[in-house]
Amino acid sequence: MVKPKTRIPIPKRPAEERIKDFNEVAIGYTEKEAVEEASRCIQCPDKPCVTGCPVGVDIPRFIKFVREKKFEEAYKVIKEKCPIPAITGRVCPQEKQCEKMCRLAKIGQPIAIGALERFAADWAREHGISIDEKPNQLMGKSIAVVGSGPAGIVVASDLARLGYQVTVFEALHVPGGVLVYGIPEFRLPKKIVYEELKNLKDIGVNIETGVIVGKTITVYDLLKEFDAVFIGSGAGNPKFLNIPGENLGRIYTANEYLTRVNLMKAYMFPAYDTPIHRGKRVAVIGGGNTAMDAARTALRLGAEEVYVVYRRTRREMPAREEEIANAEEEGIKFLFLVQPVEFLGKSKVEALKLEKMKLGEPDETGRPRPIPTGETITIDIDIAITAIGFNPNPLIPKMTPEIKIDKHGRIIVDKEARTTMPRVYAGGDIVIGEGTVIEAMGWGRIAAKTIHKDLTTA
């Protein structure tokens, strides 16, 4: 076989078709495409890609199996380290992690590791391959996991495999955390999330929805019942611009907007009861993945013009390159170097006043600092969505003073994920602030190791 020099792009539905529905944008590789892409891998012995993976998937080994058309084996290799490959294959920022470290990135285009991971996971699901088995030996100890997002899933999965009895407590009515309320259907179909979570149940993890730890039951209650508690309650607390007019009608936080659409299926209103406003001209404020998700959702809800308003330039946007490119292809308009200063309108938002910015010296984040110029422009809008970031969920620290937090409200842990309260561990966004799915999973892995170590050596 002739090795293709350039990377095989993951097939996507055409932009004009995909903006009309909420179905998945990327189609995924065929077997042939996957094998071809996998054959580009040079199988370097020092495996730099693995160092870029927060959960340490043995990437060259799984890619070798894909090349050999041993797809089930490839899937098994990934599953050794990653319990939810169909999800991470879709939403990981590979270009900043594994693919960034790929040798081929230096001389051309890196291997499409994410697309191959997704391929292996989808292939296994479509072929009914399940390798999740209950452990043979039980530890006789039980663990409570607070939150069923990416961090909680890894902790639960790792500890259940080691033979612990794990119960996951989820506040919402379905498990999955940000994977179900935050990430849109067109980027991560909920069916995929539920399939992956089913595997967790298959290995004996008990998931209880509708339980808010800190309200329904306390961490103290959990410590009476369980040998250890892991807190992965996330960073779902939205930040605000604190500018005039912010509480006008039809101004959403990205979390409200996405929760209504993703979790409550407002895009199917009135078949589902939860409504959402479908605007004609929508402004989304922010430059991260959440902003891209909100903007592309607005487009699919029928908006004629959607603006992403960002105070720096395209280069500084924290969103994944692939998602920015998807948004551009779909016709999202970008207004760079502008900062919202006021929402205008009577009861509903009618316009957004923006101040033009210029870039100055780098700030503490290493990115050039936006500097106000005093010049303003005003755009007419009928919906606004703010996606300017999140604070850690304050509920558990507030109800559990023994758990110390830093000045940003993040739970303080040692490097092995122990909080300041005995037998209580934490990870994910509640510890790191705003991270990615895979970073949260990395913390889950660390916490699971520590919990196992502490419970077996104590």
Binding site: A171, H173, T209, T259, F269, Y272, T274
Partner: protein, 281 residues
Amino acid sequence: MSFEIIGKKSLAEGIVEMDVHAPRVACSARPGQFVIVMACEECERIPLTLVDWSCRDGWIRLVFQEVGVSTYKLGMMNVGDRLYHVVGPLGNPTHVEKFGVVAVVAGGVAIAAAYPIARAFREAGNIVVSFIGARTSRLLIYRDYITKISDEMHISTDDGSEGFKGFVTQLLEKRFAEGFKPNLVWVVGPAPMMRSCSVVTKRFEIKTIASLNPIMVCGMGMCGACRVRIKNEIRFTCVDGPEFDAWDVDWDELIQRLSAYREEESYALKLFLESRKVKGG
């Protein structure tokens, strides 16, 4: 969790009392807190004040008015059915201590929500003077419960079918003018009624706590749908409230935000009621 309906009663036309098996919630509930329920998978998440509960028997009691599609669907459920989802208790409990004389003011379906709070104030040794109001006498739900735990009871109806003819806040104002001066006023009801109440109590300089009822989605501080302006700062009713000092609330903004989905709601309700007719309901 089963969330089985174990009791159901019609209190007045369109107002339903429901007992739901929810042992974890029942054992943590305190006066002033609420739950979010979903009658079905397609239903909205509805915040409802906890009206009563029993940790020993594992139930919570809810009272709601059928106003939108999801509350209609909830009202159609019967003993033995299971709610799709119940989460709680949410929000902060009412701050209860011995203030002296506490006036509890409630309007409409919220009279039921006032009951556990009035009871808690009474149990803490306060003299409880209750003011309840509704459109007409048939809608004075929970009157007997409130009467039983109140030292004094005042009733108003818009149509004068019982008690004072007019709004409950007018009745309150009348009593203030006659020299009634409680140490605290606690109010729950429709937002315009609470706004009027805060105007009256401010004039008579009587500290007032209001239990707010904005549109809410998540109920746990994640989405920001229930944000309210308190002393010009954004606060979340679900995690910072639901109770705030009534004088600090930006009532106009709250009332405006409450009307956000009025068109969508009436459209959906019309469709729903028509579909029920077709099905021979």
